[in-house]
């Protein structure tokens, strides 16, 4: 199975379930920054529909084996469901539940639909500003690279930097933002 085929399965499962969702992680970062390889299809799933995640997991069962053990991230205590593809290559599906976090609520409410010809369908993505804020919040090396890449490719002059700065102040990540901006060399 190719990664794009897995992405189609995940999108179809979410749509068939009737839950609101958006792609996050490397897929979202790649849409606005510098494309990089990944092994994950990461999706943020609205919890407005009870059992929505459970139904997505069931719909994906022919292709993906999910760990019955839910995990929590130690930064925000968000819940994550992790699955591995049954067939090769060993791709992963990560379903993140929306939760009572002001930023998560904001980024989900601002999600936008993007048509992807390769997938022959539209999918939901965060805004580039929200990708930057989220990546700076997580702060792993690859996240910081992704944030800088989105800032560089989009150009700060085209982004709502006031929105980004406000959330970075809230999250205490202003230094990471400044470092990311300083890491962009002159492009002319």
């Amino acid at each position: 199975m190719k990664l794009e085929e897995l992405a189609i399965h995940v999108i179809e499962a979410a749509e068939a379930t009737g839950v609101d969702f958006m792609a996050v992680g490397a897929i979202a970062a790649g849409a606005y920054g510098v494309p990089r390889s990944t092994r994950d299809v990461d999706v943020l799933v609205s919890m407005e529909l009870p059992d929505g995640v459970k139904e997505i997991v069931q719909r994906l069962a022919p292709f993906v084996v999910f760990d019955p053990q839910v995990t929590f991230d130690t930064l925000t205590w968000g819940r994550r469901h992790v699955g591995q593809t049954r067939s090769a290559p060993p791709f992963k599906v990560e379903l993140f539940e929306t939760f009572d976090d002001p930023f998560v609520k904001s980024e989900f409410s601002r999600r936008q639909s993007v048509f992807v010809p390769l997938l022959q369908r539209s999918t939901w993505l965060p805004t580039p500003e929200d990708v930057v804020v989220q990546k700076l919040r997580w702060g792993r090396n690859k996240d910081l690279d992704d944030a800088r890449d989105v800032l560089a490719v989009q150009g700060p002059e085209t982004l709502d930097m006031a929105y980004i700065e406000t959330w970075c102040r809230t999250h205490g990540t202003e230094v990471r933002l400044r470092t990311a901006l300083e890491g962009i060399p002159p492009l002319e």
């Binding site: 190719k2 990664l3 794009e4 992405a7 490397a26 897929i27 790649g30 849409a31 606005y32 920054g33 510098v34 494309p35 990089r36 390889s37 990944t38 092994r39 053990q69 839910v70 995990t71 929590f72 991230d73 130690t74 930064l75 205590w77 994550r80 591995q84 090769a88 290559p89 060993p90 791709f91 993007v114 048509f115 992807v116 010809p117 390769l118 993505l125 792993r140 890449d149 560089a152 490719v153 150009g155 962009i184 060399p185 002159p186 492009l187």
Partner: protein, 95 residues
């Protein structure tokens, strides 16, 4: 005989300039793409990288059995997950 070239690794300023040139080229190339085109690149790069990993695994195992190769890649990925997710994810909420 080729003329001797300066090694940028011996000159921090030259190394920084080289890094900036490489990064600038990546950014300018990405700027010419639409979000959909960049997404297509994510998928193509990911599929290609996994095929390269398969080749590496089969070479390491000295096998032509593709199933053994993928099993080895799966093992590598599981190890990588344990390293990358160490401390980031837990199975019980503690606060």
């Amino acid at each position: 005989m080729l003329p001797a070239m300066n090694n940028p690794h011996e000159d921090p300023a030259a190394l920084k300039a080289l890094q900036d040139d490489i990064y600038r080229e990546k950014i300018l190339r990405a700027r010419k793409q639409t979000p959909a085109e960049r997404l297509a690149d994510v998928f193509e790069l990911s599929d290609h990288q996994h095929q390269l990993m398969l080749a590496g695994a089969m070479h390491k195992l000295k096998t032509r059995d593709i199933h053994l190769g993928w099993a080895e890649v799966r093992r590598w990925m599981a190890r990588l997950d344990r390293v990358r997710e160490n401390g980031l994810y837990v199975t019980e909420r503690t606060s």
